[in-house]
């Protein structure tokens, strides 16, 4: 049945990090303060109301949580300390599980044990594959004829690259299917009729927002945005190099420091390292609104990302210093952290926002275009009616 009030949803949402249900009495201060909310996309108050009432369908169709970048102004100004910012964050976690058709996301968000078990299973799988495919007992590989560490022969780069591609296809498939699911929930099920041409005309907004994080920049906390942008560019750079150009990026030959391979690598590493450290620091200090409340999945994400970066750095340091065995071990460890991190975070958990946020902006624009079209049609109909009466 549609729009049935469901008091049980509260218990479900609690697992996603909602602490205080009763705090909000709907004064609307949060919405009035929000730098991002606008006519037709009112948040956070409306979403909080839907959460309180357990309106599943309304929530599933709500794009607003993704349009919020958690500057925390709403929580700061809330006269009841109801924490609207964190409620929106919790709603994003919930929606991530709603879009995910496999149910894994819900499992991760609702059970710490499940999340850690998944991490260990994937890590173990990587370890087994590494043992099978790497050439670790072969002592001749310890030092290449050029004197460097033969990482690409120790664990043949074609295999890694192949694994890379498999993972990429898997991740893309899951993420895309979740986005399609999201599309159905926010556009189709809500009865929004989008004009065909608008799918193309509005597409630039998706690209532009993905690259620029433009919307995010409207939030008040500027340093946060810079750090985040640095992290995003670093991550994208590294992702492209690893997935598309691994054979170029991961060589046994050590180039001079100014070689683009190394420059890009350092840029990405610095971005990831500084970014993750910054976020770990903020979450531990708990002074900013957006870092005060951490769900365990937030910590898993940031710690895994940090460890991936750290192990990557160590691989590099050991390799250029010719420490073969250390390089090989740390390389396997690096893969064992990186793979579960990507497999869990990208399609099922926190990192999925990299896709949901820009797509939400895209869908919101489609919605607006559809509404405008409807308005025009209504006006035309009124005009025609008036004319026929005249």
């Amino acid at each position: 049945m549609e729009n049935l009030v469901n008091p049980k949803l509260r218990d479900e949402l609690k697992k996603f990090g909602v602490q205080d249900w009763e705090g909000c009495y709907h004064c609307g201060q949060c919405t009035a303060n929000c730098p991002l909310t606008e006519q037709g996309q009112l948040f956070p108050r409306k979403d909080i109301r839907s959460m309180q009432m357990g309106l599943k369908k309304t929530l599933a169709g709500s794009l607003e949580p993704w349009l919020c970048y958690y500057c925390g102004d709403c929580s700061k100004e809330c006269p009841r300390n109801a924490n609207p910012g964190e409620m929106m964050m919790a709603l994003r976690r919930y929606l991530t599980s709603v879009y995910d058709w496999t149910g894994i996301s819900k499992l991760i968000y609702n059970s710490k044990i499940a999340e850690f078990a998944l991490i260990f299973i994937i890590a173990a799988l990587v370890l087994i594959l590494s043992i099978i495919y790497s050439q670790v007992p072969d002592r001749s590989l310890w030092i290449t004829p050029e004197g460097g560490v033969a990482i690409n022969q120790f664990f043949p780069v074609e295999y890694v690259h192949f694994g890379d591609m498999v993972m990429f296809v898997l991740l893309a498939g899951l993420l895309i299917s979740n986005i399609v699911n999201m599309y159905f929930k926010v556009i189709v099920n809500q009865g929004i009729k989008v004009h065909f041409i608008n799918y193309f005309t509005e597409f630039w907004a998706l690209i532009w927002n993905f690259i620029s994080q433009k919307k995010f920049s409207k939030c008040d906390s500027k340093p946060y945005w810079y750090v985040h942008l640095f992290l995003v560019t670093a991550y994208v750079t590294l992702f492209v190099m690893v997935v598309a150009f691994l054979t170029w990026f991961q060589t046994d030959t050590i180039y001079a420091w100014y070689h683009p391979q190394r420059i890009l690598g350092y840029y990405a590493t610095l971005g990831l390292f500084a970014g993750t450290l910054y976020f770990i620091y903020q979450r531990s200090r708990k002074t900013k609104e957006n870092s005060k409340h951490s769900h365990y999945t937030d910590w898993t994400f940031i710690v895994l990302l940090f460890l991936s970066t750290l192990s990557g750095i160590l691989v590099h340091v050991f390799r250029i210093n010719g420490m073969a065995l250390a390089t090989y071990y740390i390389y396997i460890a690096h893969l064992m952290i990186l793979t579960p991190m990507l497999m869990i975070e990208v399609p099922f958990s926190k990192w999925s926002h990299l896709a949901y946020r820009p797509f939400a902006i895209y869908f919101a624009r489609l919605k607006k275009a559809a509404e405008n079209k409807q308005k025009e049609a209504n006006m035309e109909a009124t005009y025609k009616l008036k004319e026929s009466i005249a």
Binding site: M1, V5, P7, E22, R49, S50, Q52, M53, T58
Partner: protein, 574 residues
């Protein structure tokens, strides 16, 4: 013939009058009038120096009539009358012209305003010579008190009065004391037992030697006036007469019947019950549906019959907090039960009530807001017969929603007792448009009525909770005890008077008198005015076809000469 020596004082009222009225020109014009001995203007006539000016002039110039042109007489007529008294003059040898509210505040043309002021003052001058000396009158107070209604208000007042050693007649129409509170299980905000609270009060009342209780009794007639009332009281066996000096009405109120609200289907749909029904259920200790099962989902709808022009426009005052009480009681009796509280505005007025709301919101309850004016929820019975669905637009989300519930509790409004009009007529007081008794002044005197010696307390005046009822009851008791302590009370002197030589006995006057102050003397065949009941409103004087009734201080002579004065001055200054 008496020589008239009139003193006229024109007030500036700071700039309030002086900015629009040429005060000095008025003085000059008035000086020319006959009988005016002196005319002066002054910044603030009501100030002490202003009043001293009058007193001094009366003594020096042997003035015997005073006119003050200033503000509305409502506030300062008593002030100036007092000044006349201080100078040894009868206070009724005084007339006030209102040149502030009726002139300076409402006009924009200074010349015309001045002209109007001159006219009003001239009218007052012309009138004041016809004023007669009137003297204060007092009546003795009978020390007993009649209290109608033995609810929490009636009993509290009775104990207060009786504890000071005065006799109380406590009349109750039911067979036991306690009123509405007796029907309530727990009371908010502390959720303690009403039964305990009320039983102590009942016990003290019943055992008090100075309180005479008459249960299952009704009052047939009240006659007399402040200090000297009589009432006829009857029960099924006998009729008796009581004598007392003051009356306290504390008749309480009753529940509204929601079956006229189509949307809610009360009495038509099973498991839709009123708060009174639910209270009984709580009292019995078992919350159950009609099939005997414990409900898993209970909806509570607020403002049923309240705050809606189609039913009652007022707020019933206690239902919001009672609903919160229910939520607490339901969640302790059935912790798994989902509660939907469908409210219009959560009115948590009163000590610790907001705190009750805050703690209740932590229970297993969902607060949903509806529009009590235009969009009442619709309750429909579901096919299974076990549940009902409630549909409405939730205001905070703007969504059209529906709820499945096993039981719906309607927080019904309270309304005035059906026989309030009758009681009002007996006691000579009035009811408002909702049937509640009208107090003398909504802010300054909320326990007295327009009839001297008749007081109101508790929910018969307006819906209120237990503490507020008791506060009002005890305030009324204090007022009554004050009159008893004084032993006598001053009464109105500007009353109506019948000229028995002219009166033809048609009794037109008696039929229009709003204070039941006129009675018919069968022996003399004329109407008689009870000067203690009379408020001097003048209705009878204008109704009398033969001009036999005169309103003291508002005689035809006085009014006509005032009009003449105004018109003459208007012609002169035209």
């Amino acid at each position: 013939m008496e020589e008239y020596r009139i003193g006229v004082y024109i007030c500036w009222c700071g700039t309030n009058i002086a900015m629009m009225v040429d005060v000095e020109a008025v003085v000059e014009e008035i000086k020319k009038l006959p009988n005016v001995t002196i005319a002066k203007d002054y910044k603030y006539m009501c100030s002490d120096p202003g009043q001293d000016l009058i007193v001094k002039d009366i003594k020096e110039h042997h003035l015997n009539r005073i006119v003050v042109a200033a503000c509305s007489p409502r506030m300062h007529e008593p002030t100036f009358r007092k000044a006349l008294e201080n100078a040894g003059l009868n206070p009724y040898f005084f007339e006030m012209a209102n040149i502030r509210e009726q002139v300076s505040w409402v006009h924009t043309d200074r010349i015309e305003a001045t002209r109007k002021a001159k006219g009003l003052v001239a009218g007052a001058v012309k009138r004041v010579v016809h004023h007669k000396a009137l003297n204060k009158r007092y009546v003795d107070i009978h020390p007993a008190t009649l209290i109608i209604g033995a609810g929490v208000a009636g009993m509290s007042a009775a104990l207060e009065i009786a504890d000071s050693g005065q006799k109380v007649h406590l009349v109750e129409q039911c067979n036991q004391l306690g009123g509405m509170v007796r029907k309530v299980d727990l009371n908010y905000p502390y959720l303690n037992s009403s039964r305990q609270t009320i039983s102590q009060l009942i016990k003290n009342t019943e055992e008090h030697p100075d309180i005479q209780i008459y249960t299952e009794s009704k009052i047939d007639k009240i006659s007399g006036y402040i200090g000297n009332f009589r009432a006829l009281l009857s029960n099924h066996q006998e009729q008796r007469e009581l004598e007392f000096g003051n009356i306290l009405i504390a008749t309480g109120l009753k529940s509204f019947d929601p079956s006229i609200i189509e949307n809610y289907g009360y009495k038509r749909i099973p498991n839709v019950i009123t708060s009174a029904d639910f209270e009984k259920m709580l009292y019995s200790g078992l919350i159950h549906c009609e099939n005997g099962k414990e409900p898993g989902n209970i909806a509570i709808i607020h403002c049923v019959g309240s705050r809606n022009e189609n039913y009652h426009p007022y707020c019933s005052r206690t239902c919001c907090m009672t609903a919160l009480k229910y939520i607490n009681q339901i969640s302790s009796a059935a912790p798994e039960c989902n509660i939907y509280d469908i409210y219009a505005d959560m009115r948590a007025i009163g000590k610790d009530c907001e705190e009750l709301y805050a703690s209740t919101s932590k229970k297993n309850v969902m607060f949903l807001m509806f529009d009590q004016q235009h969009d009442l929820p619709v309750i429909k019975q579901n096919g299974n017969g076990k549940t009902v669905s409630i549909e409405f637009t939730e205001l905070l989300s703007g969504e059209s929603i529906h709820i499945q519930a096993n039981m719906v509790v309607l927080m019904t409004a309270v309304e005035s007792q059906a026989n309030n009009k009758e009681i009002a007529h007996l006691a000579g007081i009035s009811t408002d448009k909702n049937g509640f008794f009208i107090e003398k002044h909504p802010k300054l005197d909320p326990v007295a009525t327009t009839t001297e010696g008749v007081y109101i307390a508790g929910t018969c005046q307006s819906p209120k909770d237990i503490p507020d009822s008791i506060v009002q009851a005890k305030a009324a008791a204090a007022r009554i005890l004050a009159t008893i302590a004084k032993g006598k009370v001053q009464v109105e002197v500007t009353t109506a008077q019948v000229n028995e030589d002219i009166c033809c006995g048609c009794q037109c006057c008696a039929s229009v008198c709003p204070y039941s102050a006129i009675s018919y003397n069968e022996d003399k065949k004329v109407s008689e005015v009870n000067e203690i009941l009379c408020k001097g409103c003048g209705t009878c004087a204008s109704a009398c076809p033969s001009g036999a009734i005169v309103s003291k201080h508002f005689t035809d002579n006085q009014i006509l000469s005032q009009i003449t004065g105004v018109l003459e001055m208007q012609i002169e200054t035209a």
